[in-house]
C-alpha cells in the first residue's frame, strides 16, 4: 500500500499549462469519483489552486498507480501527454507526505508562509470526504497536514511579517498607534499604491479618510470611494494637525512637507505621533523631518526594505519548519507501518499469550498439590488451546494483507481487539 502524489505547480509549469490541468469546484466531485474508480487506486483527493494541481491517491503498486493517475489527468482534461507530462512531479510514501506537509505549511507557496493554502488543503480534504474518496489513509494524511500547518504558524514565524508595501504600512501604523479605530488618514495626491495603502488602512479600522488633491474633483471622487471627505489642497497642512497618518504621493517636483512647516504642525499636535508614508518619486517629504521628535517618516525604499527583511525572516524560519515536518513525517510513517499485517499478528499473539499465562498462574495457585509433570501438561493444554483459537484469525489477517484494500480490514481487526501497535520490533511467536 503506497501514498502517491502526482501534480504540478508554479515552479514546474507556466500558467498556460497549470490552467489546463485545474479542477474547477464544479468538476471536483466527478473527478474524484473517476479517479477512485480507476483500476488499482483506492483513495483519492485533489488539491487544485491557482498555483498548483495535485492528485493524492493510495495504491498497492506505486509504478502502476502513478501511471494510472497520469492517464486520468490526460483523459479527464483531454490533453496529450507531451503537453503536460514534462511538468509533473511524482512523490511516493514519505516523500508524498513530506510534500503535502510543506504545502500546508506554506513552504512550497509563491509567497512563503502564506496562510490561504491551509484553507485550500482543508477544502480539498472536505471535498474528498464528501465524495467518499478519502478514507483511512488520506484522511489521516490530510488531517496531519492541517495539524502541521497550524504548528508551523504557531511555533515559528513563517507566517509573520507583511510582504507588500501597503500591508507593511499598516503593520507600522499598528506598531505606532496600536488599534487604528481612533485615528484618521490623510491622502495627498492620488496614486495607485497610495489608494491601495489607504484601502488596507480602512480595512484595518481607521476612523476617517481625508483626501487632498490639486484637482478637487479627483479628491472628491477618491474620498467617496472610502466614505471620506475631500479637503482643498491648500488646507492640507491644517488638516495634518488632526490626522495621525499621512500618505503622500503627489506628482510635485519638490518637497511639499518640510521641517519648518512641520514644526508648527507638531506644536499644534502637542507631540502626538505623526506617521508619514511618502510613496512619491520624487519624494514629497523632506527627509530632514526624520530627526523631529514624534515624527515617523517612511519612504518607498524604507517600506521595501522592511518587506525584504520580512522575506528573509520567513526564509530563515523555513529551517525550523522543515524540522517540524520531518518529525511529523516520522510519526506518519510509524502509523503507516502499523497498518501492515506483521505488527498486528505479533500484537495479537502477545495479547493471547499474556491472557493465557495470567489465567494459568491464577488457577495453578489454587492447585498447589499438582506435580511438575501435571503442571507441564496443563501448560501444554492451554498453549494448544490458544493456538487453535488464533489459527483462523491469523490466516485471515495474512490473507487481508494481500488484498487491494486489505489495510482497511487490518485496521478493523486492530480496532476489534483494541491492539496497541507501538512496539514494532516484535517477531511472530511460533505455535
Amino acid at each position: 500500500m503506497h501514498i502517491l502524489t502526482l501534480g504540478l505547480n508554479h515552479k514546474t509549469a507556466p500558467v498556460e499549462v497549470r490552467e489546463r490541468l485545474a479542477f474547477p469546484p464544479s468538476t471536483l466531485e466527478a473527478a474524484l469519483q473517476a479517479l477512485v474508480s480507476c483500476d488499482g487506486l483506492h483513495e483519492a483527493a485533489i488539491l487544485s489552486t491557482c498555483n498548483r494541481s495535485e492528485i493524492y491517491t493510495v495504491a498497492n503498486h506505486a509504478g502502476r498507480g502513478l501511471e494510472t493517475a497520469q492517464r486520468f489527468l490526460r483523459d479527464f482534461h483531454q490533453l496529450r501527454d507531451e503537453n503536460f507530462a514534462p511538468h509533473l512531479y511524482r512523490f511516493l510514501d514519505a516523500d508524498a507526505a513530506r510534500h503535502l506537509f510543506r504545502v500546508a505549511c506554506g513552504a512550497d507557496s509563491l509567497v512563503v508562509g502564506e496562510s490561504q493554502i491551509l484553507g485550500q488543503v482543508r477544502d480539498a480534504l472536505l471535498a474528498a470526504q464528501q465524495s467518499g474518496t478519502a478514507r483511512l489513509v488520506l484522511n489521516e494524511l490530510f488531517q496531519r497536514s492541517l495539524h502541521v500547518g497550524k504548528r508551523a504558524r504557531t511555533e515559528t514565524d513563517i507566517g509573520r511579517g507583511a510582504l507588500s508595501v501597503s500591508s507593511v504600512a499598516v503593520e507600522l501604523a499598528l506598531q505606532i498607534f496600536g488599534a487604528l479605530e481612533s485615528h484618521s488618514v490623510l491622502l495627498l495626491g492620488a496614486g495607485e499604491m497610495s489608494e491601495l495603502t489607504a484601502q488596507y488602512l480602512v480595512d484595518s479600522g481607521v476612523r476617517a479618510v481625508f483626501v487632498a488633491n490639486r484637482t478637487h474633483a479627483r479628491a472628491v471622487q477618491l474620498a467617496a470611494r472610502f466614505g471620506g471627505e475631500a479637503v482643498p489642497f491648500d488646507e492640507f497642512p491644517q488638516k495634518m494637525v488632526d490626522t495621525d497618518i499621512v500618505i503622500s504621493s503627489t506628482s510635485a517636483p519638490h518637497f511639499i512637507i518640510e521641517p519648518s512647516q512641520l514644526a508648527g504642525i507638531m506644536r499644534q499636535r502637542r507631540g502626538r505621533p505623526l506617521f508619514l508614508i511618502d510613496i512619491a518619486v520624487p519624494r514629497d517629504v523632506d527627509p530632514a523631518v526624520r530627526r523631529m521628535d514624534n515624527v515617523f517618516l517612511y519612504d518607498i525604499d524604507d517600506l521595501e526594505e522592511v518587506v525584504a527583511s520580512h522575506r528573509a525572516e520567513r526564509a530563515r524560519e523555513l529551517v525550523k519548519v522543515e524540522q517540524l515536518i520531518e518529525e511529523e513525517v516520522c510519526s506518519l510513517q510509524r502509523w503507516l507501518q502499523a497498518l501492515d499485517a506483521k505488527p498486528l499478528i505479533c500484537a495479537l499473539q502477545r495479547r493471547m499469550e499474556g491472557l493465557r499465562q495470567a489465567e494459568l498462574e491464577r488457577w495453578l495457585r489454587k492447585l498447589p498439590h499438582l506435580s511438575e509433570q501435571e503442571r507441564r501438561t496443563i501448560e501444554a493444554l492451554t498453549r494448544g488451546f490458544a493456538n487453535k483459537i488464533l489459527h483462523i484469525p491469523l490466516v485471515q489477517i495474512r490473507q487481508f494483507a494481500t488484498e487491494p484494500d486489505g489495510y482497511l480490514r487490518l485496521d478493523a481487526v486492530r480496532r476489534v481487539f483494541n491492539l496497541d501497535l507501538d512496539d514494532q520490533e516484535g517477531e511472530e511467536l511460533s505455535p
Binding site: 506598531q175 505606532i176 521628535d293
Partner: protein, 268 residues
C-alpha cells in the same frame, strides 16, 4: 512569625515558581495556553500572598511591619497587581514573564534571610500615621517604577521605528505611552496622599520629629513637582510623546535617589 504564615508564603512561592515556568514556556515554546495559565497562577499567588499579610496583621496584633519579610511582601504584591493590570492593558504576557521570576526570587530571598525590624526603625513603624505615610508613598513609588519601565519601552520602540525596524517584542508606541500616563496618574495620587499623611503625622505630633531641613522631605518636593508637571502637560495641555517620557524617567531617577540614598534626620 507563625508557621502558618510561613506555610502560606511558601504556597505563594510555589505559585510564583509555576507561573515563572508557564510564562517562559509561553515565550520560548510558543504555547499560548501556558501564558494564560501563567497569568492565573501569578494572580493566585499574589492573592494568597496578600491574604497572608492581612491575616498576619489581624491575628498577630504585632506592629505593622515587624519583619523585613512583610515589607518585601508588600512591595512584591503591589508590583504584581500593578504588573498584571499592565499586562492586561498591553495585551502581552511579557510583563508577567519578567515579574514572576522576580517575585519568586525576591520573596524567596526575603523568606530565607528575614530579620525582625528592631531599633528606631521598628519604633517608628508602630506609629499609625507614619505607617500610612510610608505605605502610600511606597505604593506610589511602585507605580512610578512601572511608569519608568513604560517610558523606557516607549523610547526603545521609538528608536526602533526611527531606525525603520519593526519590533514585535515591544508594545505599540501609543499604548506604552498611555499605560505610562495611567500609572503616573494613579501613583501621583497615592504619592501625594502619602506625603500629606507625613505632614499630618508631623502636625499631630507623632513619635517622630524631623529636622527643619530634612533632605528627604525637601527632595520629595521636586519629585512631586516633576510628576505634577508631567500630568499638567499631559492631561491639562494635551502634550505627549518623546519629551514627556523623558520627564517620567527623570522623575523616577529622583524618586529612586530619594528612596535609596537620602535618610530622614530624626530628632531625639
Amino acid at each position: 512569625m507563625t508557621a502558618r504564615c510561613l506555610f502560606s508564603i511558601g504556597l505563594s512561592l510555589a505559585l510564583y515558581l509555576v507561573a515563572t515556568v508557564l510564562y517562559q514556556g509561553h515565550l520560548f515554546l510558543r504555547r499560548r495556553e501556558w501564558g494564560e495559565w501563567g497569568r492565573k497562577m501569578l494572580l493566585a499567588g499574589a492573592c494568597v500572598h496578600t491574604f497572608t499579610l492581612g491575616i498576619h496583621f489581624i491575628v498577630s496584633k504585632s506592629p505593622y511591619f515587624s519583619n523585613s519579610l512583610f515589607v518585601v511582601s508588600l512591595f512584591v504584591v503591589t508590583f504584581l497587581f500593578a504588573g498584571l493590570w499592565l499586562e492586561h492593558f498591553l495585551q502581552t504576557p511579557k510583563v508577567g514573564a519578567i515579574l514572576a521570576p522576580l517575585a519568586f526570587l525576591t520573596v524567596l530571598y526575603a523568606a530565607l534571610r528575614h530579620v525582625p525590624l528592631e531599633g528606631t526603625g521598628a519604633e517608628l513603624l508602630k506609629d499609625g500615621w507614619l505607617v500610612v505615610h510610608i505605605v502610600l508613598s511606597l505604593l506610589g513609588d511602585v507605580g512610578f517604577a512601572l511608569a519608568f519601565g513604560m517610558a523606557v519601552i516607549y523610547l526603545l520602540q521609538e528608536h526602533w521605528l526611527k531606525s525603520r525596524r519593526l519590533s514585535r517584542f515591544l508594545p505599540p508606541l501609543d499604548v506604552a505611552d498611555h499605560a505610562g500616563y495611567l500609572l503616573i496618574a494613579v501613583s501621583f495620587s497615592l504619592f501625594s496622599l502619602g506625603l500629606a499623611m507625613g505632614v499630618i503625622a508631623q502636625w499631630v505630633g507623632s513619635s517622630v520629629s524631623l529636622g527643619r531641613a530634612d533632605l528627604k522631605v525637601l527632595a520629595s518636593i521636586p519629585c512631586w513637582g516633576l510628576y505634577a508637571l508631567y500630568l499638567y502637560l499631559r492631561a491639562g495641555a494635551g502634550w505627549r510623546g518623546h519629551r514627556l517620557n523623558w520627564l517620567s524617567i527623570v522623575g523616577f531617577a529622583l524618586v529612586l535617589f530619594n528612596l535609596l540614598v537620602l535618610r530622614h534626620e530624626i530628632m531625639e
